[in-house]
């Protein structure tokens, strides 16, 4: 089984990388991009029976820094 973890900077935390990407898109002529937020996706191959709660522990302990980041877990 697999889990996919999406980690994003929390709303309100300035994302200078996203801002640089937005600026670059504007420079390429892509108008109308008001905001870009950059995050990361972490894919985990897991032993059968691993619970979402277990993945949440992984997020809290290592995969996300909850001071600045939020995360979402997709199990499949």
């Amino acid at each position: 089984m697999k889990a996919r973890v999406h980690v994003m900077l929390k709303d309100g935390v300035l994302d200078p990388q996203g801002e640089a990407v937005r600026h670059a898109l504007g420079g390429l002529g892509f108008g109308g991009v008001d905001k870009v937020r950059q995050g990361k996706v972490i894919e985990l191959d897991l032993a059968d029976g691993t619970t979402e709660d277990r993945v949440r522990e992984m997020c809290e302990k290592l995969l996300a820094n909850t001071v600045i980041e939020s995360y979402q877990i997709e199990m499949s």
Partner: protein, 222 residues
Amino acid sequence: MRAAVIVFPGSNCDRDLAVAFREAGCQVEMVWHKDTTLPSGIDIVGIPGGFSFGDYLRCGAIAANSPICAEVKAHAARGGFVLGICNGFQVLTETGLLPGALLRNAGLKFICRTVPLIVGTEDSVYTSGYKAGQQIDIPIAHHDGNYIASDEVVAQLTAEDRIAFRYGDNPNGSTADIAGILSSNRRVLGMMPHPERAADEKHGGTDGKAMFASIASALAAA
């Protein structure tokens, strides 16, 4: 007085930090990240600058979960002293020993230059060799030194006089110009600038030397 300097894969200021401690009169032990105990009788743990674990995932995140860091946390919980510089500051925020986090510099560039710092407090073994309000010149060398914390945390740090250093001319977007902060017991200091790179005439500046001198004299007397 005895100091331990932690070495992670990717640390690159470990030897400089050891030299600065040694020149101040400390006995220094280098400690590998996989070790599960600190040498006995350690007064202060130094967590050096560098790029531990290649800055993978987040700066300092993997180092903060390495075996030795459990011991560093226990040392701090016993009232031990911990000095984290640059990547060491990032590790200390990731362990939760210090509040807040370090984000990518607001200008997105790696910044490597000597910057003016304003000493925020004299009330710690790290800063007792300076005067509050004094300007000192210390090098920075980081990509992720943009300190962020909630308004409540910054208010608390300010009210408790725990902002050890502020930037004279904020280079990286840090909240409230914060360059270094103390723990609530004032024994853990995390700072992005590198005092160990300004501790010898040949470095081109010696404004960092007073920090190691005051640590050594305070802990020798303890």
